[in-house]
Every structure is written in C-alpha cells, then in structure tokens.
Symmetry: D2
Subunit: 307 residues, 4 copies
C-alpha cells in the first residue's frame, strides 16, 4: 500500500471493556453498544475488547468475534479498536485476525501463550509466526502473572517485524519497561509502549509510554483521561494526587475480589447492566459497593477540580 500514509502510533487510554450479559447469560448487544458510546463520550481514546478484563477466556470463539464485530460497528471509526485475538492456536488466531481486520479494527492484541509457561524461544516463535501471516497490525500483550512472560531480547527481535507495532505490558514493572524501551526505541520510534497497570500510569507515561490499557478507564474514564492529559502536558505534579487515588480504586478491584468481579461491580455503579458473571458467585466474597462508590465519586470530583 505505497500510497497510504503510515499508520499513527497507538496512543492514549484504551478501555479493556467488559461485555454485558443478558438474563440468559448471552451477550447483551444493546447494553454493550450503550456502554461503548458512553466510554467514547467520556474521553477514552480507544476500545480494547477481549482483554483480560473482558474475560476473553470465558467466551466461545464465536462469541469473541461477535463482541469485536459489535464494538467495531458501534465505534464507527470514532476511536480505534484494539481487538484481542488470541485463540486456541496460530491457525485459529490468524482466522480471528482476518475477521477483525474486516470488521475495521485498528490492530489486534495477542496475549503471550498461556496455561503452559513457555520459554523465550517458544514465545518468539509463536508471535513471529503470527506476525508474518497476519493481515492486520499486531500488538503484543505481556502479562506475566497470567501468561508466559515476554522478555527483553524476545521483544527486541519481535520489534524487527514491521507488523508488530506495539506492546502492552501489565507487569507494572517500570524498570523492565525502561529496559524494553532502551532495546526497541532506537530502531523503532513508532513502536508503541502501552502501560497495562494503572498503579504506575503516571510514571509509565513520564518514562515514555504513549498510553495504556486500563480497566479503571472503563469505570472512571474522566479520571484516567485527566491523568493522561495532565501528565503528557508536563503537569505531572497535578496528576499525582489523582494517581494516588486511582491506586486505591485499582487495589480494591484487583485485590478485593476475584478478577474481574470488582470491575463488574464498579461499572454497574456507573449505570450499566453487566449481568451475572459466568464464573459462579463466590459466597465468601462480598464486594463493598458503598466503598467502591465513594472511591469513584472521589476520583470524579478530584478529576473535575484539577485544571
């Protein structure tokens, strides 16, 4: 495509959105569309369906496609869609990549192989095979607590493939992110580093990330947008109190309940019907909705008050 301008570097806050379910446990399309509109209206820079927050492992392959299709259709180009495309194996994943390209996604995000913990060489071979055959741009998704880690030499070699345009890191390890940037940025200034752990959103942005994918942006998009805008415009000291408060919300949803049930509860507090989880409810766990609501309100108020 020689005539096409180079695609813009991925930047901003992408929401790894949850998918509302109806009373039978199926995808609630109307509510999903309403949620997408609300997120865009409240400032998110992009959508990221089929992420960890989006419970991609709990949907069937057909459902995962349906979710991306609805979201691409609903966004209608207003914001880019980064579609989670990991399937059972490379062949199935490539089929999803083709479908998501047709739906209009900007790129796909592919989590490192999970269940088995694979060695760096196997992680490299896996992403390489996908990148060489994908019809759509690929971002790597590094989440060592759930999947095989992507290490620095592996990333460095993968960044030689033009189809791979960025990496989302959910380790929260700022030092490791700096090592990755040092290895890749000299050769690939267009390569996007996306932070995936909002507890360090401000330092990650200060140190060179162009954005992030954050579950909390599906709850308080106003606040994550404000943090992004302040930090990227040189006002990180103003962003710092918001960052500290965001950690409180983040810790509560991440450590206070089985993932992602805290997020489900919080999104519902913003007015969306997400339906019952596909994971049977854990009777030993009660989410303190009043506390969640207080934190959300604090964040919204604080975000509003900072100029």
């Amino acid at each position: 495509m020689p005539d096409q301008p180079p695609a813009q570097k991925l930047a901003g806050i992408f929401t790894p959105n949850m998918t509302p379910l109806d009373e039978r446990g199926d995808i609630n399309e109307a509510e999903l569309r309403r949620y997408v509109d609300w997120l865009i209206d409240h400032g998110v820079h992009g959508l990221y369906p089929n992420g960890s927050t989006g419970e991609f492992t709990r949907f069937t392959p057909e459902e995962r496609r349906r979710i991306v299709q609805i979201i691409c259709d609903q966004t209608r180009g207003r914001v880019p869609v980064l579609a989670g495309a990991a399937e059972a194996n490379v062949r199935e994943t490539l089929r999803a990549c083709e479908a998501y390209k047709q739906y209009g996604a900007r790129a796909v995000a592919i989590v490192s192989p999970f269940y088995y913990r694979l060695s760096p060489g196997a992680v490299l071979a896996y992403f390489r095979e996908i990148a060489l055959n994908s019809p759509i741009d690929v971002t790597l998704y590094n989440i060592p607590m759930f999947a095989s880690p992507i290490d620095v030499p592996t990333l460095q070699r993968l960044a030689e493939l033009p189809r791979i345009i960025g990496m989302k890191d959910s380790s929260g390890d700022v030092a490791q992110m700096l090592r990755m940037m040092a290895a890749v940025q000299p050769h690939r200034p267009d390569f996007a580093f996306l932070a995936g752990w909002e507890a360090v959103l401000v330092p990650m942005l200060l140190m060179g990330c162009s954005g992030g994918t954050h579950a909390t942006s599906g709850i308080v998009p106003e606040a994550t947008r404000k943090i992004f805008d302040l930090t990227t415009s040189g006002q990180y000291q103003k962003a710092r109190p918001l960052q500290l408060k965001l950690i409180e919300l983040f810790d509560r949803i991440v450590y206070g309940a089985d993932f992602p049930e805290g997020i489900r509860a919080a999104v519902e507090l913003r007015g969306f019907k997400l339906g019952a989880s596909r994971q049977p409810p854990n009777p030993e766990q009660r989410i303190d909705r009043a506390e969640l609501e207080r934190l959300i309100n604090d964040l919204l108020k604080m975000a509003k008050s900072i100029e």
Copy 2:
C-alpha cells in the same frame, strides 16, 4: 439407580495421551486409534484425553469432543476413559460432560480455573456448580503451576458432593497430598487420589494414592505399570531403582523442552507419528533424541529385569 452396583474407585495408571496430527495439522484418527491400542496392550489402566499433556488448550472445542469420541470408541470398554472436559465456562463444560457420558467415558476430569488465579471460594463455587449439574462422575484436577490451586478446605467441601469421585494432583507435593487425604478419606473411603507427578509416583502410592495420571506412561507404559505393580504389592524397594530412572526421563521431558514437546519426541521414538506441534517450533531448543532413546531403553530393560 438403586439396582446398580457402586462404581469402582478409580485406580491404576491413566495415560494423558497426546493426540497425533496429520500433515495438515488435523487430528490423525488412524494413528490415534493405533496409539490407544498400543497403550492398552502395554499395560495402562486407563486413558485420559484432553489433559495438559494432551494439549487441550490448543484444540478447538469441536476437536476436543472428537478426540474423546475416538478414544471411547477405540477402547470399547477395555479400560476406563477419564475425559478432560474443561471448556470456556460452566455451561460449555456441562455440555461437554453430557457428550462424554454418551460417548461412554467413565468420568470427566476438570482442571481448576486457569488464566485468572481465583480464590479458594471461587474455585469451590466453580466445581460445585459443575458437580451439581454434571450427568457424569467428576474428578478434580489440581495443577498449581498452571491453574488456580485447590486447597485442602476447598477439597474437603467438594468431597461432600457424591458426584466428585476423586482428585488428580500434579503439584508433586507429598505433604499436601497427605493433608488432603487426612481431610477426605475418613468421610469418603471411595474417593480416589491420583498422583500426577511421576517424580514421586512410588511415595505417592505408598502414602495412599490409588493410581496416577502420568505422561511417561504414554512413553514407557511397561515401566510405569511395573512400578505400580511392585509398589502396590509391597515390593517398593524393588520399585525404587525404576523410580529413580523414571525421574531422569521425566526431568528430561519436562525441563528439557517446552512442555509437551519432549513427550512428543519420546512417543515418536516408540513408533508413533504425532505430527508437527501446533506451537511453532522453538529454534533455540534441540531435543536430544539419542539421550531420550537411551533413557527409554534403560527403563524398558530395567522394568523387564525386575521380577
């Protein structure tokens, strides 16, 4: 079913078999049937398709059913089939349970929720929902290195459900297995504890396991059978040298290559065409087939020589 005799406790060595693929990467049914016959002829007590060794995560839901169907059909009741039935969520898993019952499986094995690390309460809720609705006996599959751990209190409560008839543990933690036995056996003498880590097969059998599911039984079924027979007949001192040699093979296939590529290579050395892995080959990893062959031959010779 008042007239039916109580089902026998699961016992013996079950093979978590790999599934041969053809040149296009699809299930090679003929070779799978040939492999099943060979395993039965060489002394395995049961088959266990769709286990971790069987790469269940790399097949589509349709393929997983096809694998169980072929194996149930081919075993024709000669040995029991324990069918891995974990799917994307409880609903899909129950559908698989129904299918596997119809195919003639003795029971299903369901791995603890993976990808997300869930709390004990959520693990309990998950298995409870399945056990209350499954039309077929259920065994729990505990493999903490890949999936949410099943802890002792959780197991104790799950063992109150008659549908749950056993647990396979792949932690290799003998002390933890003893704790589980202490919690469950007084109330459920019929509950089967199956060892899933052959490096401790002899001590696990000595301490109360009725059997195990072992990848090496798909490579050297003669040796694992011999270990089982010797140990359960009071001759564990004779089984000890076999156990030490089995660890050598086990370590080589588990730590010497990305799981389960070492097993694939070893099964091929016994004369089966397993085809190329669905995981693209890792060029940094070369499996020493000569060493594998030497270990296999040592084990077979040793197994033969011990009366």
Copy 3:
C-alpha cells in the same frame, strides 16, 4: 587415620533444640541441661543445637559457642551432637568448627549462605573452602525458603569431599531428595540424607533417608521415635496415622505463628521454661495453647497405642 574405624553414618532423629533463656534474656544453662536429658531419655537419637529452630541468628557468636559447649558436656557421648556452625564468613565458621570439635561434637551442620541468594557456583565454593579446612565432619544444610538453595550438581560435587558426610534437606521436596540420592549414593553409600521437613518424614525414610532433624522431636520425641522405628522396620502402614497427626502439629507450629514461636509454646507445654523470645512479641498473634496441648496429647496417646 588408618587405625580408626570409619565413623558411623548419621542416622535417626536429631532434635534441633531451642535454647531456654532466663529472665534477663540470657542462656538458662540449668534448664538447657534438663531439656537435653529429657530429650535423650525420651528417645531422640541426637541433638542439633544452633539450627533454624534453635534461632542461631538471634544469638551472638559467643552465645552460639556456649550453647554447643553446654550440650556436648551434658550429652556426655550418650547421643551424637550435630552442631550448627555457620558464622559471618568462612574464617569465623572454621574457628567455630575447631571449637565444636574440641567440645566433642560428632559433626557440624552448616547452612547454605543466606541473606544474599548466591548462585550454585558460589555455594559450591563456599562449602568447598570449609570442607577442605574443617577439622570436623561437615553436613550441609539445605533450606531453600531461608537460604541459597543447594542444587543437585552442587551436592554431587561436594559429595566428592570426604569431609562432607551428609546433607539435611528442609525443602520437603521428595522428588528433589530422590534426585540427590541418585546423584550421590552410587559413589558415597556412607553419605547420610537427613529429612528436615517432618510433614514427609515417613516417605523420606521409605525412599532412603537415614534419619532427620525435626523440630517436632523437641516436642513429642516419643512420637517421632515411634514413627522412625515403625517405618524403618517395614511397618510404614502403622506409621501413617502418626504421620498424618504429626502434620497437624507441624502445620500449627509452622504456619500458625512466626517461626519458631509455636515450637516455643509447645515445648513449654511439655514442662520446660524457655523464657521470652528475643523477637518482641507479635500482639496480632495468639497461639492456641489448648489446641496445641490437644494435638500433643493425641500424638502421645497414638504413639503409645501402636505396637
């Protein structure tokens, strides 16, 4: 020493004894001597001062020597003393070795380097330097949860040094113990493998350990002796219920309180005044002495009832 008979392989249950303190927090020599006598009278095969249970890190170098001196003096050869001799560096450790030899210890036990996590090569160099210069037999002490792990190749090379006569392993990893035995026993049949994790005492003895060092033997020496005698005389099935009950006690003292406060409480229940811990009391932790007492009584009764 051509005229001397070869020293006997270390065997049996060694007690890593705690050291009683008086009201000023100093060593209570009289009570220590009384405790040593009681332990010997109740069947322990040896004493092991300055172990982890003995809080060696909380005493000064001078106090550590005094403890060994008192114990050697009090045992008067009735049972062998295995003296913990790790000091700040090799030079200081060797000085302790010399002193302990003079006091009459059978051997020293030296924990792998701790605080820093050293690589296998450094662990090897450390023990090698000590073994080449020690005037007294050395046992290695592997406790990966607190100190640099001793891996199999390292142990194999250390076992080439005649001064090193055994290893105590507190990992509780039966498979790893088997790997170590496979590496060492063919060349060193005299090398003693001592189990240091009583939750797997029976399986460790069955698989080739000649004994163990167990904190619980300082609480219920009658029971650990009975387990040892039953298991080493082919009656492991009779030892199994005692093993399961011992795990209950072990779990309570290890996981129920900051180590080794549970052991302190339990030893006091047997009639010894251990004094206040040098670690300031944790007000958030209350040890359930009634439950401890119940477990101790159960174990004693059970040990008595089994012939």
Copy 4:
C-alpha cells in the same frame, strides 16, 4: 534537646559503600578513608556503611562498629552518615545504635528481620521496640528479596513513632512506593522515602522520593548525582538517557555476578583496592571487566555532556 532545630529530612544520594580489605582479609582502614574522601569529592550526599552492598552480614559485630567509626571520623560532618545497625537481636542492635550515635552518625538504617520470614505483626513489633529505645533516629530498610517485607499498614503504624524518620525501599516497586507515600505523607511530611533500586531512580524521584541509596553511586557518583540534580530540577527528560544507561550498569553488576562481586570489580576499576572477597571466588563466574569499564566510561561521558 529543646534548643536544637528540627533535623533536616534525609535527602540526596547515599552511597552504600563497600569496605576495602587488606591482604589478610581485615579492614583496610587507609583505603576506606581514601574511598570515603573520593566519594564525597565526587558528589555523593551521604554515606551508608553496613548496607547490603557493604556486606554487613560477612563482618563480625566488632568489625561493623569499626567500619562506622572510621567512616564517621573520616567524613567529619561533611556529609551525613546513615549507619546500618542491624545485629543479632534487639538488645545488640540497640547497643550498636548507642555506639553509632556517639560516633556521630546522622541516623541508623535497620533492615527488616531476615533469615526467618516474619509476619507483618512481628516486623512491626521488632521495629517498634527498637524505635522506642533508640537514642538515634532510625530509618527502616525494606528489601523483600532478602528480608521480611515491610507492608503498607506496618509502615503506616511505624511512621507514628517520631524516632523513625524514613524508609529505604529496595523492592523497585514504584506502585508500592506510591501506596506507602499515600499512607504516610499526609501525617509525616518530614518522613523521607529513599529509593534503593537505581533501575527506577528517576521515576522514584519524580513520584516523591527525596533521595536514594544506590550501589552504583559508589562506582559512578558523578552520574548518579547528575541524575539527581536534573530530575529534581524539572529536567527529567534530560535525565532519562542517563537512567537507561545506568540500568545497563546496574543489571550487569546485579545479575551478572553473585552480589556484590560486580560492584567490587567496578569500584576497583575506579582505582580502589577492595581486596579479595570474604566469599570464596566462584570459578564459574567471570566478570567482564572490559564491558564494565566501557559502561562506566559511557556513563561518565554522558553525565559530563548533559548540562
């Protein structure tokens, strides 16, 4: 001391200095004094003897005192001394605190209890006992990879004690540092947070640390000083390339050799005779001195070139 002005908050880069040894393995006082002078002349804000880099565990209690005495004497008030004072138990530690106060140290640093992994309540009790009895200001030293972690609620409660004036954190976890600041700063604006992991020095300073203790400041004090000055004066973008290069040096000394042998080699490259390590040399480990030298020179050149 009612007439004294409140002590200033700890700030700047403190060097956890190594201690030179002579040919007999004893403290080389002359070289230590020369090294201290050089560090001060090259811009470090303070000294920190008996830290992890300073191998405090490998010296005897008497040697640890001697080291602090020499350093306090040599600095003669030019820079503050933060003296590592952890000894075998609270009583011994308090004696060291008294001595270090007399020597003229600004404060002591006390590592969380190590060897045993203690619970938060025990960590709290330990530091509390020390803080209530120490005649000199205390900083807490959190280094979870070597010692019992200090968690946020524990820190919050310890910060209620005026004697505790700061915390050094060597976890490198920026999110956790933010949580700690959020818990403490509202009540204790004077409390110093010191970063102890130079791979994240810039982000830690940006997010609220007043300084740090960094082994690399003992090698390239010019560069760490430049990073500190640039970052604290709003020029963090200029500090970023230095930070990335510092990580290269840091990784090489931390992951390239048994700690702290890489630092020993690097300090020697700056012209100091540190002598042979007390840990016997690991023959499997060769430190690439040429590469170390190249990194040091790169850092020095880069530091000089940035205005």
